[in-house]
Each structure stands twice: as C-alpha cells, then as structure tokens.
C-alpha cells in the first residue's frame, strides 16, 4: 500500500505539486493525465527516488520511501532506458547480473549459462526471439519499448512506473503494447503508475485515472501554486468513458 500524505514538491520558488493526499492499494493500475509541465513526471520521480519531496509524507507499507532508486520500483521511460552498447540479449542478461552482488556486473560460468537461457525464454515471451543479437538502435520503437518493459520487470519490482512509454509509437503498435502491459500487470500482480497524454489510453488501461491540475491561480506569480490531483476516477472496464471525458473538460 502506498500512502501520500499532504505532499508538496517545489523547486525553489516554483511550487510543482501541493496538498497531495491519496492512497493506492496493491494491484491498482493508476493512469495519470494533466497538462504539460504540471508535475506528472515529478510525481513519478518522487516514487522512483530520484527526487525528494519538500513537505509531507510518502509511505510504502507504512515506511518512508527509499530516497534512491532500487529494485522494488521498476521504470520505463519514454526513451533512453536501454543500454545502447549491449545487444538485446545482453540488455536482459545485464539485468540478471545486476540482481546479484558483485564488483563487475558480469556473469561467468554456470550463472552466465543460466542467465542466458532464462533471458532467451523471457525474450520469446515478449516476441523478441529473432532480435537477440541486435543493438537497440537497430530496433523499431515498439521493439525497444517491449525490451525496456521486459528488462524493467527483471528486478521483480512490486511497483512499475511508466512515463509516457508509448508516446512515440504509432496506434497499431500501441494496441499491442497495451495487451502486453495488461498481461504483465495481471501476471505479476504489479501496482502500476503510468503517465500518458492520451486520455483514451488512460481510461482503457487504468483501474483509476488521476487528473493533475492547479486549483489555485495567481496571475502575477504563475509558479506560486502547484498542481494536485483534481479528479480521482475509478474506472470500471464497462463504464462509458465518453461520459467521463465530458466530466474532465
């Protein structure tokens, strides 16, 4: 369970998030929308541990969240999350090596063989078995993101953070990726936080949709107030999202 209690985040004078109060149960699939620059990525970074909150509390199972990234929280960025100097197979095997303690992050002998066969199996699951020897720059956008998701799950995270992971993909590939994410979410019992600019995608994937917006405005000082969650909509799969769409307008 994740509890957010009166959370504030500001960069100097610039208040980005304010008065965030929300509780997330295990297994929720949260999708987040909001205008550009309103602080969605910042919220993910707080969960990830790359940014620290300014005021309030952010608790996972009652304990303050770790202040640096770790294996309990996986992440897929819009781009750059793959290691460009490793082939597809090596990207996955490296993730296996990072799980273990050690100085170099390389595997040897039996551990290496095991990691290799496990990696090949996983890559088959996400449909990349024909691209094992390719480098990331040789992959299409959809293949890259599939690899990034497969890799992110190797740390066995409980929480998966997705920052506009499909923003750069075309609609056909997107639909494929939606199925993949939904399957993995159910299979691994993940709690997912996903930022998207596509409201339809948000309604389709999420069990809860959050809208980030500012509730207070000061025209003289646009940065004086931050955004907060203005709508927290439960999404059931048969609800008519057109209705909800009009609600958020």
């Amino acid at each position: 369970m994740i509890e957010v209690k009166n959370l504030w985040k500001n960069y100097g004078e610039n208040v980005v998030l304010e008065q965030l109060n929300v509780t997330v149960a295990e297994g929720d699939f949260i999708t987040m929308v909001g205008s550009s620059g309103c602080g969605k990525s910042t919220f993910l970074n707080l969960l990830l541990g790359t940014e620290q909150l300014s005021r309030g509390e952010l608790l996972i199972n009652g304990k303050p969240i770790a202040s640096e990234p770790g294996p309990e929280r996986g992440i897929v960025f819009q781009q750059y999350s793959l290691f460009p100097h490793m082939t597809v197979l090596e990207n996955i095997m490296a993730a296996k090596a990072f799980e273990r303690k050690g100085f170099t992050g390389y595997l040897f002998g039996k551990a290496k063989r095991e990691a290799k066969s496990a990696a090949e199996k996983l890559l088959k699951e996400v449909g990349l078995e024909h691209a094992l020897k390719k480098y990331p720059h040789e992959l299409s956008g959809g293949m890259k993101q599939r690899l990034a998701i497969a890799q992110a799950l190797l740390g066995k995270p409980k929480i998966l953070l997705l920052d506009e992971p499909f923003g750069a993909l075309d609609p056909g590939i997107r639909a494929e990726m939606h199925q993949l994410v939904l399957n993995l979410w159910r299979e691994h019992g993940l709690t997912i936080f996903m930022v998207t600019h596509d409201l339809k995608e948000g309604f389709y994937l999420g069990t809860r949709l959050w809208v980030f917006d500012k509730t207070r405005h000061d025209p003289q000082a646009p940065n004086a107030y931050g955004a907060t969650i203005t709508y927290d909509l439960p999404v059931s799969k048969n609800s008519n999202y057109e209705n909800l769409l009009s609600l958020t307008k």
């Binding site: 990234p69 996986g74 992440i75 290691f83 890799q151 995270p157």
Partner: protein
C-alpha cells in the same frame, strides 16, 4: 543553375578537388625550386626532389657510417615509442580521472578544480623541471607528453560520462546494480569509444610535445633529426622528415578510427 550551396560534387570530382591543393603545392614547389637552382646550383632552400630522395635513401636504406644503424628507422622507432608510451599513459590516466569524476560527485568535487588548474599550466614551461627531476633520458619526454595531454582527455571523458543519459543509470539502479557495477558495465564500455576519439584529438598536441622534447634533449628521434640537420640547412632531409611525420600522424589517426569502428560498432552506427 542551382544555388552554390546545393551543388554537390560527384564522387570522382570530389576526389579530384581533394587532390588539387596537393598537386598545386607540388607544382609550385618544383617551379620555384627549378628557378632558384637555375640561379644558384648550390641553393639549399628548395632542393630538387631527386636530392631529397637521395637523402632519404642514404638515411633509410644505408647503415650509418658512424654507428652502423639505419638512422631513419631508428628515429622513427624511437619517436613512435615515446609517443605511444606517453599517449597510452595519458589515456589510461585520463580515463581513470574522467570516469571517477564523471560518475561520483564526491570525487568530482575533490578533483575537478585541481584538474582545471593542472590543465592551465603550459606543459612546455614544465619541461626544464622534468629534465631536472627525471634527467635527460626517455622518461622526461614521455612525462611531458603525459602531462601535456592527460588533462584534456580527463576532462573530455568526464564530460562524456556526464552526457550519458541519467535514465540509464536510474534503470541500472532499479535492476539492483551497485556503484561499481554501474561504472564497469554501463559507463566504461560507453566511454571506451569516446576515449579513442579523445586520443585522436589529442595526438596533434602529443606530436608537438614529442618534437619539442626531442629538439631540446635527445640522441635520436624524428624531432631530434630535423633540429640537428637544421644547422647545415639540410632542407633535403627536413622536408621529407616533415612529410613522413605527417604521414605517420595520418596513419595513426586512421588506425584508431578503424579500431573504433571494429570494436564498437554500436557507437558509430548508433543513435548519433
């Protein structure tokens, strides 16, 4: 007629245009050389090509009367050894400094100002000190090259390390990697091709320091030779030596570029 900025030469034309300046220089040289020689057959400033060929034949293909060695090749070997050793040490040191200052903020705070100051010292001003401390032997020349180019390499590698998208470092951490694993598997391999690029850029400076050191104190070497024969105005030796140094520099540079393409294919073809 297209605009000038849109006119692209065909392959053969591009090649011919590339050759043209070299050809013009050669023609100019021959014309002027002939003119001077017609006036004074003993003119030393622009010796004929045949005389240069003789000089090189004498130095490269005949053993020297005094030592029985092939001067040209001894000079080449000595210079390349000094340069290679110096550049190798500078690259290793630069990589070490660069990667740790680039990856670990605490090390950066400790070393960055120091590195900046070191890089501002004109290396040639240190040469007398090096001769005093390390003597006139090989060591002082190699150290001059190291001091001359390592700060550049270190700072370049540091900048390159910081340029690696933070997303990758975060990703590695979410997979459970510790600091040393991130340095060895994420940073180091991506910095190796950058290191080779950096070495290529600093080779020019490397040659400069090599020749300066050899000119002042040496008993062999390409730089030593051209400064030695300068006393006799032996342009017939100096000019081919300069051309040879240039050719060596070109070959080394191309070899490094080839090495980069062969070892790190993802780098040259990659996203950039």
């Amino acid at each position: 007629m297209k605009r000038l900025i849109n006119l692209k030469p065909s392959k053969p034309l591009a090649f011919a245009l590339g050759i043209l300046p070299f050809f013009l220089i050669a023609v100019l040289y021959v014309i002027n050389s002939n003119a001077r020689l017609a006036e004074n057959a003993d003119d030393k400033l622009l010796p004929p090509v045949s005389k240069m060929a003789d000089a090189i034949e004498r130095l490269a293909l005949e053993p020297s009367k005094r030592s029985g060695e092939y001067t040209f090749w001894i000079d080449t070997a000595s210079s390349l050894k000094r340069l290679g050793l110096g550049v190798l040490c500078a690259a290793a040191l630069g990589l070490l400094f660069g990667i740790f200052t680039g990856a670990i903020p605490l090390v950066k705070s400790g070393l960055s100002p120091f590195l900046t100051v070191i890089s501002l010292i004109p290396p040639l001003a240190l040469l007398p000190i090096l001769f005093i401390v390390f003597g006139l032997g090989e060591l002082s020349k190699v150290v001059l090259i190291v001091i001359g180019i390592f700060p550049f390499i270190a700072r370049d590698i540091q900048r390159r390390a910081e340029e690696i998208p933070n997303e990758q470092l975060v990703k590695a951490q979410t997979l459970g990697a510790n600091t040393s694993q991130i340095i060895v598997r994420v940073l180091l391999p991506q910095l190796m091709p950058k290191l080779i690029d950096s070495v290529r850029l600093s080779l020019g400076a490397g040659w400069l320091f090599l020749i300066a050191a050899e000119a002042i104190a040496a008993t062999d070497g390409l730089g030593y030779r051209i400064f030695l024969v300068r006393r006799y105005l032996s342009m017939d030796v100096i000019l081919p030596y300069v051309a040879w140094i240039t050719l060596l520099a070109f070959i080394v540079d191309q070899l490094l570029a080839l090495l980069n393409r062969k070892l790190y294919p993802w780098h040259s073809q990659g996203n950039r």
